[in-house]
Symmetry: C2
Subunit: 332 residues, 2 copies
Amino acid sequence: MSSVIHRLRTPLIFVLLPVLLSAPASAQPSLEDPLPSWNDGPAKEAILTFVSRVTTEGSPDFLPVEERVAVFDNDGTLWPEKPLIQGIFVLERLRALAREDPSLWKRQPFQAALERDLDYFKEAGPEAAMEILALTHSGMTDEQFEAEVREFFAHARHPHFGVPYTELAYRPMVELLEYLRAHGFTTYISSGGGIDFIRVVSEQMYGIPPEQVIGSSLQKEIRVVDGEVVLWRKPALASLNDKEAKPVNIDLHIGKRPVLAVGNVRSGGDISMLEYSQGGEGPSLQLLINHDDAERESAYQEPDNASLRAAQKNGWTVVSMQRDWKQIFSSS
Amino acid sequence: MSSVIHRLRTPLIFVLLPVLLSAPASAQPSLEDPLPSWNDGPAKEAILTFVSRVTTEGSPDFLPVEERVAVFDNDGTLWPEKPLIQGIFVLERLRALAREDPSLWKRQPFQAALERDLDYFKEAGPEAAMEILALTHSGMTDEQFEAEVREFFAHARHPHFGVPYTELAYRPMVELLEYLRAHGFTTYISSGGGIDFIRVVSEQMYGIPPEQVIGSSLQKEIRVVDGEVVLWRKPALASLNDKEAKPVNIDLHIGKRPVLAVGNVRSGGDISMLEYSQGGEGPSLQLLINHDDAERESAYQEPDNASLRAAQKNGWTVVSMQRDWKQIFSSS
């Protein structure tokens, strides 16, 4: 207790101030709106009600902190997916490789990608896309790949919005992530995108550290390169983290069933993750972002409407970007 | 700031006390020995010096909290591996299954396991062991498997020490884990053992939550069983987390290179993980536990001495259980 006595010699406010400023948010409930970019309505209400139910001590639905696990898809849920940002990165890498090795312009499927021949890929199926992913994402160390991704985010601009991709996190989702963490949740990404691609920017954009990012991954092996022990990226997929693979990888990384899962309408890629989250014993919440805002972002639908049908059947909360979000990005 | 004013109306000690009691350990350096079960000597010294170097602000080796990543093997590093505790569980499960299906007594490799015919397994190779692992660990939901493991730990006793396995965490290692966490480290397990087996007891035994456990894993798939969405355990390995696979899975789960890695002498299973930890740019520490204490635990060596040779070559710190540990278990 000697440090108590020592500290009391300084004016009281200097003792208390740093302590109070660093206290967890739950200790000082704010009267301010925690989700200012969300319009009042059923989606915002569903979020506030759920968080209150599971974090209020004495509530029958109270969850201890270690069970407050939330998972978020990335493309179309936390940032735009038209065009797919990692797709732009792949094309840029491919063009750079083709400058070094012009024969790529004459070899399929690289030629089709370089010439943006979408019909080729519709015909050739997913193997062709995988071949391009392998060429652009492997054959180097993890450190080299990370440097490539950093360089991409430093110079690339969104073709429509004209700003760096790192400025395109959806502001209402960043608020939601911060609100959840302030209430003891751990927030994870579970994306079909590449785990190593997202990890480069997830802390800066969403406050989500690398160890809380789950995504598609390549096979790797340990090697000694120039006398250094490195992980070498092999040209083969380890896991495509989409659809039914999402719950499996969530379990592998977290070992708990999330009580909150957020995905978006486009391909049905998040249905299984949301069903898994809902299938636990206790309270849970599922959100599905609907891209219906052609003016401020994009409007698109799923060919078979599977995600919206699943939402209706299971009572998931559909978030309309147009109706529920006051603002889409931080700078507009 | 209204809460400051409100709190000042209560006597000062009631304001300060909870705050000081909940402050992180680094804010009030203790004069007590943080590793009381470690004898003074080079191993304890190496640990204390390393932690001081990387956590003292202004030190050239200072590491921010997010880079303080430590990984620990489990069998032989955090608890005994003679016999392998998961091996006992496998045999017990197999016996229970053979009571329901006596034909297992007449089918290999199950017959050999039930009759403890070790020669059969030396001949048959790892596939035979995998077949037994698959039978005893799959064909059920994650929840069912967890219940089986819980039940095992509730009744099983170590054949030599006569106590529940959950009482056999090495006390010096539990102290080390707590000491590291008190200094901002995140502590992970990276084990050749099953990820779902270890996760059941890792929090209770080591203070390590499920999401910080990495281990061998089975393939799983999402299924609807009796109307519930569950993960179904398939009879096939997804990853054997041993040797060169350890760095790959550490990267998959954490996305950072650990600065501290701890393994043990027996099979060479931790060499690659320790090399990976040492191969980073900054300061790092590698510990290798040597089982040389026949009286208090076990004495055994590695057939080819590969781990000890790697330690000598790379300057890793060898921990002698006999010389460096004052006490092996919490109750002795």
